[in-house]
């Protein structure tokens, strides 16, 4: 489904190289976790996949279902089935969550040549998904992310994911700022959305999210490269030994 080959990227303004030749293949039905210390390039990878203009791709390729992702505008990537759950979702004062999600759903439908979803169908669906994430319907009338707690922001991200039904969801540090109860709710939501036809890429610093979203594969990112891959036990090993173990391993290599 997702194929990343030798991906290199730098910060557009400074020319600072952050991704240093990443290779990764994610198949339908799989959950992959990318772990790594701060500054290893985890969030940059998420941003580059989503098409953020502050990063410049300097080499390699990324395809999603055989479509060249790097050639597409951010919105075209969304239409192609990519979804990024932001680490720091943006506040949009004056726009309700309901209006925002409906606009997003209909933008995606429009790209597929479909009519906008009617108000009733939308309401039914969004209520159902909100219930799954234990979101109070009143929450939907609040301005997008304005004054939200960390947990509310992340739940809002996963609600959008539930409504947009992406084929590949990239969760960027979705566990940051969450207490354990919120973490469980969010993870539970992601698990319910999992199917044989879609895939999830979980980007995280800590192993604890992976207690609830169990990965099929775990990759360790360091200095812009995947330096080690394994199954879920790698996450436990990392938790036990810390990132210094990887840093040393890379240096002595």
């Amino acid at each position: 489904m997702l194929k990343i080959e030798n991906l290199k990227a730098q910060v557009e303004e400074s020319g600072l190289e952050i991704l240093n030749g990443i290779n990764l293949e994610v198949n339908a039905g799989e959950v992959h976790a990318i772990m790594g210390p701060n500054g290893s390039g985890k969030s940059t990878l998420a941003s580059v996949l989503a098409g953020k203009a502050t990063y410049e791709v300097t080499g390699g390729s990324v395809t999603l279902n055989n479509e060249d992702l790097l050639d597409l505008e951010p919105e075209e990537r969304a239409w192609a089935g990519l979804f990024l759950a932001f680490q720091y979702p943006v506040e949009i004062p004056g726009v309700s969550i309901a209006n925002f999600i409906r606009t997003a759903v209909n933008a995606k439908r429009e790209s597929a040549g479909l009519d906008p979803m009617n108000a009733k169908d939308f309401l039914l669906k969004v209520r159902e998904k909100a219930a799954m994430l234990e979101i109070n319907p009143k929450f939907m009338q609040r301005s997008v992310n304005e004054g939200f707690s960390g947990g509310e922001k992340k739940r809002n991200e996963i609600l959008q994911m539930a409504m947009l039904e992406p084929t590949l969801a990239v969760l960027d540090e979705t566990d940051s700022g969450l207490d354990i109860d919120a973490l469980k709710i969010v993870a539970n939501g992601v698990n319910k959305l999992k199917s044989e036809d879609n895939a999830v890429l979980v980007i995280t610093h800590y192993q604890r999210l992976l207690d609830y979203i169990v990965p099929d594969h775990v990759h360790i990112l360091y200095n812009g490269k995947i330096v080690k891959s394994g199954d879920k036990s790698l996450a436990f090993e990392l938790e036990a030994k810390g990132y210094d173990w990887i840093k040393e391993a890379v240096v002595t290599h």
């Binding site: 989503a50 098409g51 953020k52 203009a53 505008e73 951010p74 919105e75 990537r77 969304a78 239409w79 979804f83 990024l84 932001f86 979702p89 943006v90 949009i92 004062p93 004056g94 726009v95 925002f100 606009t103 997003a104 933008a107 995606k108 790209s111 959008q160 947009l164």
Partner: protein
């Protein structure tokens, strides 16, 4: 004739008009006009050398020839009102064409003991006590040139007096149609709104052009008096063609525990200038000002306000937002004066601007003059561009770049539009603004 500038022409017009008055020239009303026109004669049109007019240049206007109209031109069948009016708005309707009252098109439906909704000319005859008590008593026709010009030339406008404890069921909706085809037209609407104690009234002044190119110059003065506990809302909607000049001055007077809301929506026009002066004259009163200007091409809007806190324990709030594209120019000047005895004043002011065109300009200036020591005042002026992070967030959710920008701008001005309390009007404004913003993003 061609050599004569507008000031000279208007003074000559006034002299001619006066000559035709005979005995009517002796009335108090005419004497006020005369005082005002003499003041205008001395001051002339404002120039950019004056601080208040630094960014708004009337030089072109003052060289042109504008004619005042004394008779209406259009038969009622020639005006397609439904194309101009706010849809679905049930209101007491007054229509003016080039400043001339069109009784045949107007429809004042609400009646109550003591309630007076009239055109000003009628009120001069039928409500002389109220006219004597209030007319020209608030706006300064001796020191402000445009008020002086209006006071000298004004023939008609809106007159409202709401009796004590009466709450209006419907808004008063005044549509000013600029109908300039063969020659450029000057009109000087003059409005007086008096809210009795405990009364409530909402007034909409809607300025529209009948045709796309006709040149019009509309110079309006509105005086609003809120008696104790009165609640008055005044909406100015400017939606005229690119060859129009629309200047308004709104002078309000707040008594104890009264509330006045002044809304200003500049949608379309050539040169727009609004001045809102709120005199907070007694305790526990509230002065609110809300404004939106969405400007494209060569449009110009200058919004200036003065809140004069002359008493303790009062509140004022001001929120203006602008979106500017093309070569448009926006000006905001918000002055808050807190006088020595105005302790415990709460005064807030915000002006935010988003530039969407490389050549668009905004000049914004807060002016706080605080002479009391126990007050809470804040102001914030910003000029910026759309937030790139927010645009990316929306695009990552499937909105195109253009849609993302439009969406954010709508949300930006939406905060102000929420303050409008007349739903059909709010919807009308939202629709107009949405369409304009969309056009600016292409």
């Amino acid at each position: 004739m061609d050599q004569m500038n507008l000031k000279e022409k208007l003074l000559k017009d006034f002299a001619q008009y006066e000559a035709g008055l005979n005995s009517a020239a002796q009335t108090d009303l005419h004497q006020i006009r005369k005082t005002a026109i003499n003041a205008f004669s001395e001051m002339g049109f404002p120039t950019v050398k004056q601080e208040d007019w630094k960014y708004t240049n009337l030089a072109n206007i003052s060289k042109k020839t504008f004619n005042q109209q004394f008779e209406s031109n259009l038969s009622s069948s020639e005006i397609n009102l439904s194309q101009l009016l706010t849809p679905n708005l049930e209101a007491n309707l007054l229509i003016f064409e080039n400043g001339i009252y069109r009784a045949d098109l107007s429809k004042i439906k609400e009646e109550a003991t003591g309630l007076i909704i009239n055109n000003l000319q009628t009120a001069f005859k039928t409500s002389p006590e109220l006219i004597v008590q209030h007319y020209t008593k608030y706006a300064d026709h001796k020191a402000e040139a445009m008020v002086a010009l209006n006071t000298g030339l004004a023939q008609d406008g809106l007159f409202v007096s709401v009796p004590e404890s009466y709450v209006m069921q419907h808004p008063i909706y005044v549509l000013h149609i600029a109908n300039a085809i063969d020659n450029a037209v000057l009109s000087s609407p003059r409005n007086l709104i008096i809210g009795g104690a405990n009364s409530q009234v909402k007034v909409i002044q809607h300025y529209a052009s009948l045709n796309e190119n006709g040149e019009s110059f509309t110079n309006t003065v509105t005086e609003i008096v809120a008696n104790q506990k009165a609640i008055i809302e005044n909406y100015i909607i400017q939606d005229e063609n690119a060859n129009s000049t629309n200047i308004t001055e709104t002078q309000t007077h707040l008594s104890k525990e009264s509330f006045i809301y002044c809304h200003n929506y500049s949608l379309e026009g050539g040169l727009i200038r609004n001045k809102t002066n709120m005199v907070v004259a007694d305790e526990h009163s509230e002065a609110h000002m809300y404004g939106v200007y969405v400007l494209s091409e060569n449009q110009h809007a200058d919004n200036r306000s003065l809140v004069d806190h002359d008493t303790a324990n009062a509140f004022s709030q001001e929120l203006y937002k602008g979106v500017l594209g093309g070569k448009a120019k926006g000006v905001f000047n918000g002055r808050i004066m807190v006088r020595r005895d105005a302790q415990k004043t709460n005064a807030y002011q915000t002006n935010r601007n988003i530039l969407v065109g490389n050549e668009a300009q905004v000049f914004t200036k807060p002016q706080l003059e605080i002479f009391a020591d126990d007050v809470r005042c804040s102001h914030g002026c910003t000029i910026g561009q759309l937030d790139e992070e927010a645009i990316f967030y929306l695009r990552s959710r499937g909105l195109t770049l253009q849609k993302a920008k439009t969406y954010l701008l709508k949300a930006f001005v939406g905060e102000v539009l929420l303050k409008a309390t007349i739903d059909p009007l709010k919807n009308f404004l939202i629709e107009k603004i949405d369409r304009k913003i969309k056009g600016m993003m292409v």
